[in-house]
Amino acid sequence: MAVEVRIPTIFQKLVGDEKTVASEGANIIEVLDKLDSDYPGFKERLTNEDGEIHRFVNIYVNNEDIRYLDQLETALSDGDVITILPAVAGGSI
């Protein structure tokens, strides 16, 4: 599946300063693997040592958070738009 991936500012350096890149895959894992082969180090920034998405990274498919879909297994269709956004978080401690 050919998809469009919207890249947040903090990761744009990894993809040649692009805001949007084209990628492909049948699900989110495949897309991340393809992005990592095109832009080495990309996946590492989004995932923890267990290969799960870092808790402060939000990934959306067509505006829905994949936490509410099938997470990394979320199936994709041609033309889907994937948005990656760092969470907005913090605290007083």
């Binding site: 500012t9 907005v88 978080a89 913090g90």
Partner: protein, 136 residues
């Protein structure tokens, strides 16, 4: 670049902070070139007095609304309910928006909240001046 905010927006932020107490309150500022055009109050899904986390769906919706309005994300605000308006180690570690000011409102004195702004880039804190503009 200083962060310019209208007096009415600053008061709305203070009120939002107070109404969220005892939890931390949070929100986003859309605008351009350091001038806040729109204050977006947000939900703290952590519902905590020491931690804040934006609802991921609401975050995307508001960021898209900013895009549609031609605004940039120029400020991320949250309250500290009982400590000074200065980034905590957690704030620094979780600062993923280097282009946005991090605005902290201290409710240490509930009657006179203290608002300060910072840029947090690569773990380093820079103080950002806040200029309050008179009017609505």
């Amino acid at each position: 670049m200083a962060l310019h905010i209208k007096d009415s927006d600053q008061q709305a932020v203070f009120e939002h902070s107070r109404s969220g107490y005892p939890h931390e309150a949070c929100g986003l500022f859309g605008g351009n070139e350091g001038f806040v055009k729109t204050f977006y109050p947000m939900t703290n899904v952590a519902a905590s007095g020491t931690v804040y986390l934006l609802d991921s769906r609401e975050q995307l919706e508001v960021m898209q609304a900013m895009d549609d309005a031609g605004e940039d994300l120029i400020g991320i605000y949250h309250s500290h309910v009982a400590s000074e308006a200065f980034p905590s180690p957690t704030d620094i570690k979780q600062a993923f928006y280097p282009d946005s000011a991090y605005v902290i409102v201290s409710l240490d004195d509930m009657e006179k909240p203290d608002m300060r702004a910072f840029m947090i880039v690569d773990g380093k804190i820079g103080v950002e001046e806040i200029k309050v503009i008179e009017g609505e």
